[in-house]
């Protein structure tokens, strides 16, 4: 009986599909007339702070982090839902910052997104067929005559049947809606899919179905996936490489197995230790992995963002913010870490 696996692939040769360099995105906070009169400083929320990473064709890059780490904002900036306040995004050799608004709109069909909440990611007043038909025709994916056929193909691809095409989203369960969302993303044949917590809102048994589906589709269609999640177990399962973010900055990137077995950044170590495990029963001797609250992204700590909660922090960490450096090169990819005292 052949063991079906979703094992990681060796790093692809050549240019990465997606290259993000020093990307920044900040949001100005409310600044009213009174503030101006009182000459108060304009405050900004820096959601994404000089983030760099790359994603190769055909691979799955997992992106993990807790709230306020900026992973969702990063995803939306890459896909052009937000305009970056700094840095650049180069996709398939094309620099997005050089494109006009019109060109941007056309090129963005190569990157599509799958959203977290199956209950708000579908238009409640459009049937499945209407949604798919509209995008197939808008992007000239096929002729008018072929549309219905193509819709059937797409539905089958994600495990739905044709007789469900004329229903409204309210007739479907959470797992089915996610499948529709995936079909919507695939209809325009994108090269990259950004999946923003696609299974977090689903029950465990349905999660497994959707994860299997994503793995199958990746294999079948040669997709590249940026998989964002807070669930470390799922990320480990599906990703070839993993990136960890904390308070808007990228703190570590490494091939999956390396990250999970020998993390270099203290935050990664803490994150892995904190995740509830089913292995040994720790009811009677459990200790917290890390103390302290997550700081607010508005008032960032000085120097290294993690220093207030880091057991290894010293004077250098309090004053200087570490750069993302390459620690080692493995066949699956480089191991990058932004720490003054990496653990490996």
């Amino acid at each position: 009986m052949a063991e079906e696996t979703n094992a990681p692939k060796a790093a692809a040769q050549g240019e990465p599909l997606l290259e993000v360099t020093d990307l920044c995105k900040s949001f100005p906070l409310k600044y009213g007339v009174l503030d101006a009169v009182m000459r108060k400083e304009r405050k900004h929320l820096t959601a994404v702070d000089h983030v760099s990473f790359s994603l190769n064709a055909g691979e799955t890059l997992g992106l993990v982090g807790e709230s306020g780490c900026g992973k969702s904002t990063l995803a939306r900036t890459v896909i052009n839902l937000y305009n970056p306040t700094g840095g650049k995004v180069v996709f398939a050799g094309v620099d997005f910052s050089q494109l006009s608004k019109h060109e941007l709109r056309n090129s963005c069909k190569d990157i599509q997104m799958i959203f977290q909440d199956p209950y708000s990611s579908l238009n409640p007043r459009m049937t499945v067929r209407q949604v798919l038909r509209e995008e197939l025709l808008h992007h000239n994916m096929c002729t008018k005559a072929e549309v219905d056929e193509r819709i059937i193909e797409l539905l089958e691809l994600v495990g739905l049947s044709e007789d469900q095409a004329d229903r409204l989203p309210s007739a479907f369960s959470g797992g089915q809606r996610q499948r529709i969302g995936i079909a919507r993303a695939l209809a325009v044949q994108p090269k990259l899919i950004i999946a923003d917590e696609p299974v977090s809102a689903l029950d465990v048994s349905i999660q497994a179905q959707i994860i299997n589906l994503l793995c199958d589709l990746q294999e079948k269609l040669g997709l590249s996936i940026l998989f964002i999640s807070h669930d470390l177990r799922v990320v480990r399962y599906i990703s070839d490489r993993v990136a960890v973010m904390y308070l808007g900055a990228m703190v570590e990137t490494a091939p999956t197995d390396t990250l999970y077995t020998a993390p270099a950044h203290p935050y990664t170590k803490v994150l892995l230790a904190a995740a509830p495990s089913m292995e040994e029963n720790k009811v009677d001797d459990k200790k917290a992995a890390v103390l302290g609250e997550l700081p607010s992204p508005i008032n960032l700590p000085s120097g290294c963002r993690f220093h207030p909660r880091c057991p290894y922090a010293d004077e250098l960490c309090r004053t200087e913010s570490p750069e993302l450096r390459c620690l080692a090169q493995t066949p699956e990819g480089p191991h990058m870490c932004a720490c003054h005292h990496p653990l490996v």
Binding site: L81, N123, E134, H138, G159, R167, R179
Partner: protein, 291 residues
């Protein structure tokens, strides 16, 4: 895929509850409103003399008669059959009601969509203008406008248009603010759809329901306002039959005990108003449960 072979759509057949039990107000309201429309369209079916000019109805042998088998609503001081007059006036009143609402509904919704979606300076300007309009009491502003423009149905409609648009804008704008951040709109943006397409094809169907429900009760409000203005002598001229003017013509006879001249059109107006309100209520429930 074998995974989903057994998956059936979530909703298994729940007993289909018939519409009159689910929303009795919708049905009752619809019946009343439909009846009003039929009366407006074919007044002669209900009152054979309804098409005649008002002066023809005068009958000096039957002045100020109480409601009876011959004159269901009684007669006024000119001997005119109140029932016939009320039936004849239905068309105009419904026209005023619908006409007053149609334009503000369209324009107000459009403004709400634009303000909500684009925000920024345009939004601020339009909302402040809206605030100015809303600062005036509805009725006072309408009366002032009619007083300036003069009597007549068209001027009445113009006055109604000017005062009625703010609520639609507000309703739609707040719904758009919510819808704009939802994930399906973000998905539409990632698919590269133009703003116009997103606003009208994706957002509009989802934000319009509260406007529609509001419009139903707004029709009642407009009929009432028009009737009030006619009562005051503004709006339609004395020769045109309109519920408010009939009520007005009977006001000096109330103390004399001739209640039917003013009350009958009032009761009819109340029933029609109730019909629209119930219909709007029922529509609200229906649209709510569909979501």
């Amino acid at each position: 895929m074998a995974d989903t072979a057994a998956l059936a759509p979530k909703r298994t057949k729940v007993k289909k509850v018939p519409i009159w039990r689910r929303s009795p107000s919708l049905v009752i309201g619809a019946v009343i409103v439909a009846l009003a429309f039929v009366v407006a369209a074919f007044p002669t079916l209900f009152a054979p003399n309804a098409a005649k000019p008002v002066t023809d109805l005068m009958d000096f042998t039957a002045m100020l008669q109480a409601p009876s088998a011959e004159h269901w609503f009684g007669t006024d001081n000119y001997g005119r059959d109140i029932y016939t007059m009320v039936i004849a006036a239905t068309r105009l009143d419904l026209l005023i009601g619908l006409g007053s609402v149609a334009l503000p509904f369209v324009v107000g919704t459009l403004l709400g969509l634009i303000c909500g979606y684009y925000g920024g300076k345009l939004d601020t300007i339009i909302m402040r203008i809206l605030d100015i309009f809303v600062a005036f009491p509805f009725m006072v502003l309408a009366i002032a406008i009619v007083a300036i423009l003069g009597n007549g149905v068209m001027n009445l409609l113009i006055a109604m248009w000017i005062v009625s648009w703010p609520p639609y804008t507000r309703l739609v704008r707040s719904e758009v603010l919510i819808a704009k951040n939802s994930e399906y709109v973000q998905a539409a943006k990632t698919l590269g759809y133009s703003d116009v397409k997103i606003i009208f094809r994706h957002i509009l169907p989802n934000v319009i329901s509260s406007s529609v429900v509001y419009a139903a009760s707004d029709i009642v409000m407009c009929i009432m306002t028009a009737a009030s203005m006619s009562f005051l002598g503004l709006g339609v001229d004395a020769a045109t039959l309109e519920w408010g003017s009939i009520i007005s013509s009977g006001k000096s006879y109330l103390l004399g005990g001739y209640w039917w001249i003013s009350s009958m059109p009032g009761i009819v107006m109340a029933i029609v108003g109730l019909g629209f309100s119930l219909f709007g209520d029922g529509l609200n429930d229906l649209l709510r449960t569909k979501d």
